[in-house]
Symmetry: C2
Subunit: 220 residues, 2 copies
DNA sequence: AAAAGTATTTTTGTATCCACGTATCATCAA
DNA sequence: TTGATGATACGTGGATACAAAAATACTTTT
């Protein structure tokens, strides 16, 4: 008999949550689309109850909107909301960098360089997933902060903006300044000045918003 | 026939969510307590299903922990987690103050003074709810930032720490430096220096954590 | 043909039901 | 006495059933 992996047999609710979240991140559903529990339940072979429960969490994450008696629709971000999320990310990720600073050793710097390199490669050969690589870089720094709740909040925001990042990358197809700015973050971390590194990260995050917004609501 | 107020007849899930959240904020349930859907459902006259759904959102808020096949228990914060939340609050509320600055007029300053006064009165005559007044002060400044998502995140954190704030206030019974620090925040806002005001708020929030922690895990 | 009303279908919200997992506690062996 | 074993009660996860609300299609009327 094969070994029993308890994480394999997650509850149906978890399965439904992951399934829908993944589809939303990949942009398979578009803002305004109506999600019908029955359909999704059928897709993954369960009843609609666990799907309904998953919807509650997705709504709490801000990924969908639930209105009484009229179901679940995919949430869309206005340009203002997009800016707001980047504003929040800027201070949270700034904090993460500040906290990460004293925990970074030379080995870790090499890992960050590697991640930077991987992102660049993914950006050039459109095949690799640039958006995921980009997130991995940010995620690695957050992880270094050693703050579970902070990490969780930041990654929740990354999920919300992921579909927009994908549209952005698909359209403009060049990570533009991302490589330089990430390199600047690493440099700031190497400098040992925590306050400065926080500042650089804040500016990197905030600086991305207007570029991204241009693709969400073109030429305003 | 009376007018129909649609917000009065919310769904059962909303009712369950509010009911349990309120109980948690007031400290009626203690960390580690097991919440049995059947019991709660009976209390407010509904079946288990809406309660189960409410649990998902409460778990997403970090108020309870849901583990497969072993139900719902009230989440407790370790001292580390408490500090982490105050760290996050410090940058979020710092951001809120920075954004609020350009939107405050003289009338608003008077309102803040009034809220400060009300908090002080509630602190002296133990009757009024000091914790709520304290939150109202912070909430007002957040509201001035005009950032719905920021406001939402901050208030979610306030809910999580509310039970600990209550224990703190009940035990030490003096808001201590709160009045002075809030006054300092107002003063910083009046100064017109956004960066300085952000700094003052960050320090106020961070400074509260160690005092509070002392009551959560006494004399460590 | 447009508007209004009505019937029909779909979907949501909630309750109930059942199978399985977990905890509790008594029993028994060492 | 202690530790394993098994029976029992309880709770959880999920499916199904049913009522109420919305959305949709279909008349009817003008």
């Amino acid at each position: 008999m094969p070994a029993n992996f308890p994480e394999m047999s997650a509850t149906a609710e978890v399965e439904a949550y992951n399934h829908v979240q993944r589809a939303l991140r990949l942009g398979r559903y578009k803002p305004g689309d109506r999600l019908i529990p029955e359909e999704i339940a059928a897709e993954i072979g369960m009843s609609r109850m666990p799907v309904r429960e998953a919807f509650r969490r997705l709504a709490s994450d801000g990924l969908v909107v639930l209105r009484p008696n009229r179901g679940c629709v995919v949430a869309g971000l206005t340009v203002d909301e997009l800016f707001e999320i980047f504003e929040i990310r800027s201070v949270l990720e700034g904090l993460a960098v500040r906290l990460a600073m004293p925990r970074i050793d030379e080995e870790e710097f090499e890992e960050l360089d590697r991640l930077l390199e991987r992102m660049e490669r993914a950006g050039q050969s459109g095949g690799g997933d640039w958006v995921v690589r980009h997130q991995e870089f940010h995620g690695r720094i957050c992880a270094l902060s050693q703050r579970p709740k902070l990490i969780h909040q930041i990654s929740a925001l990354h999920v919300v903006i992921e579909p927009y990042m994908r549209i952005w990358f698909d359209d403009c197809n060049k990570p533009l300044s991302a490589r330089e700015e990430h390199a600047a973050v690493i440099a700031a971390l190497r400098s040992g000045d925590a306050h400065h590194a926080e500042q650089v990260m804040q500016e990197h995050v905030l600086g991305t918003a207007p570029l991204l917004a241009e693709f969400v609501s073109p030429s305003r």
